[in-house]
């Protein structure tokens, strides 16, 4: 079997970044979504971090780290000129109140109707920890999911119904995978673009849920 050419994580981040308009207020979830920040170029995009930062800048230079200035993943960050600090209730009002244009989140599974599972595997002995995942999923005007199309064992992460515990119902608007970009529509998952060197039929077979061309 030939090795399928698919997008790297950096390439996925580039695709997400390309779709973020200048002037957007954006929250990048912990993990892979934070890569998107590296591909926004010269666009002025307001990055929000739920611990209380708007106008977040890049990582500090070595030796310039400040333990009071971190992002939601508890990594050191910087503040751009014009950035602001605020408390947690204000920060989550920005999300829940519909002021954040786009949240980019990772996922375990996304259902055909845009349900999201990304916080808890529900496995025996795992400690539940949700953080801001549910608030972002429910509150952001658009939720972009960025994930591998398939699990490590080859199962589709696009599912008829999530089997992992839900983060939010019907909240995902667009999905960026290493194989395709899809919109969640009232009719189901609509393929915007296939980004790997596979046919629609191949994508359909791998996805295991009905796709709209």
């Amino acid at each position: 079997m030939t090795v399928m050419k698919k997008l790297s994580r950096s390439e996925m981040a580039q695709r997400v970044a390309d779709d973020i308009l200048e002037g957007s207020y954006v929250n990048l979830g912990i993990g892979v979504p934070t890569l998107v920040a590296n591909y926004l170029g010269d666009k002025e995009v307001f990055l929000h971090s739920e611990n209380g930062v708007l106008g977040m800048g890049p990582s500090p230079a070595p030796g310039e780290e400040d333990d009071d200035l971190i992002n939601a993943g508890k990594q050191h960050v910087t503040l751009l000129p014009g950035g602001a600090y605020f408390h947690h209730a204000d920060s989550f009002s920005m999300m829940r109140g519909g002021h954040i244009d786009i949240a980019v989140l990772g996922a375990f599974q996304v259902s055909v109707s845009g349900d999201l599972a990304n916080w808890h595997t529900g496995a025996e002995g795992s400690i539940p920890a949700v953080g801001g995942a549910m608030d972002l999923a429910t509150g952001a005007r658009q939720v972009f999911v960025m994930m591998d199309h398939l699990t490590k064992t080859g199962e589709s992460k696009l599912v008829p119904q999530c089997t992992y515990p839900l983060t939010g119902i019907g909240c995902v608007t667009r999905i960026y995978t290493d194989l395709a970009i899809l919109d969640v529509t009232a009719q189901g998952l609509k393929v915007r673009e296939i980004v790997a060197d596979i046919s629609f039929e191949d994508l359909q077979t791998l996805s295991g849920v009905p796709l709209i061309r």
Binding site: D68, I70, P165
Partner: protein, 230 residues
């Protein structure tokens, strides 16, 4: 003359009863009032309910309080971290109860308590495990979950500067839960890097007005270490 400042952490923490509900500010270690938490350990108070975003890092601050066996229950949004092994072990051994709350609901429940709101409907968590058993309601076609306020006996917070009336300013993202926890507790105790003269804080820039703060103690900025943990 009103003077809310205290000479020592121990004096500022006087009177914390067993079984108290204690809010602890901070997001990870940013804004974590570690020296106040160390003071709670030294005070001997036990059977505590802790409300905080996380459940401790390494073996300092909240993690040290947990390790000392003083905590009966943790209400937080994100207990599991790369260095939360103290909590993890206690939880898996059934030695501490856990209530996980979505971070924004946690913040708003705290704010509601401080603002005299009886309860509120939040869209966050609807249809998930974390809303099980809770009252729901459809408002303007959207699903909401009824969330109750979170009150506390004591809030321990960290701020940058404070004065003898209890006015506070914060530093960068260390502000996080400080302002809302200060409003939600019967007794709010702030550790500050510096106590300044009344009038020195620009009234336009005071983030937490002194009405929400009962006690202030200076803990000069120093690297966090295990040195003063019992």
């Amino acid at each position: 003359m009103i003077n809310k400042t205290f000479e020592s952490v121990a004096a500022a923490l006087d009177g914390i009863a067993d079984g108290s509900v204690i809010m602890v500010g901070g997001f990870g270690t940013a804004g974590m009032p570690s020296q106040l938490v160390d003071g709670v350990i030294a005070s001997g108070a036990r059977d505590l309910t802790i409300i905080s975003n996380n459940a401790g890092n390494g073996e300092i601050g909240l993690a040290a309080l947990l390790k000392a066996g003083r905590v009966a229950k943790v209400i937080c949004s994100f207990p599991r971290q790369s260095d939360s092994y103290v909590f993890d072990e206690l939880y898996l051994a059934g030695k501490v109860q856990l209530e996980v709350v979505p971070q924004g609901n946690l913040a708003e429940r705290i704010r509601a308590a401080g603002s005299g709101i009886g309860a509120f409907y939040s869209p966050t968590g609807y249809g998930t495990l974390l809303a099980e058993g809770k009252e729901t309601r459809v408002i303007d076609g959207r699903n909401y979950v009824l969330e109750m306020p979170l009150h506390a006996d004591v809030a321990l917070i960290k701020a940058e500067k404070g004065d003898r009336w209890g006015n506070l300013t914060y530093r960068k993202a260390a502000r996080n839960f400080g302002p809302i926890m200060a409003m939600a507790a019967k007794t709010t105790i702030a550790q500050v890097n510096r106590i300044v003269e009344l009038g020195e804080l620009d009234p336009e820039n005071i983030v937490t007005p002194g009405i929400f703060v009962q006690r202030v103690v200076a803990v000069p900025l120093a690297p966090i270490s295990n040195a003063n943990v019992n």
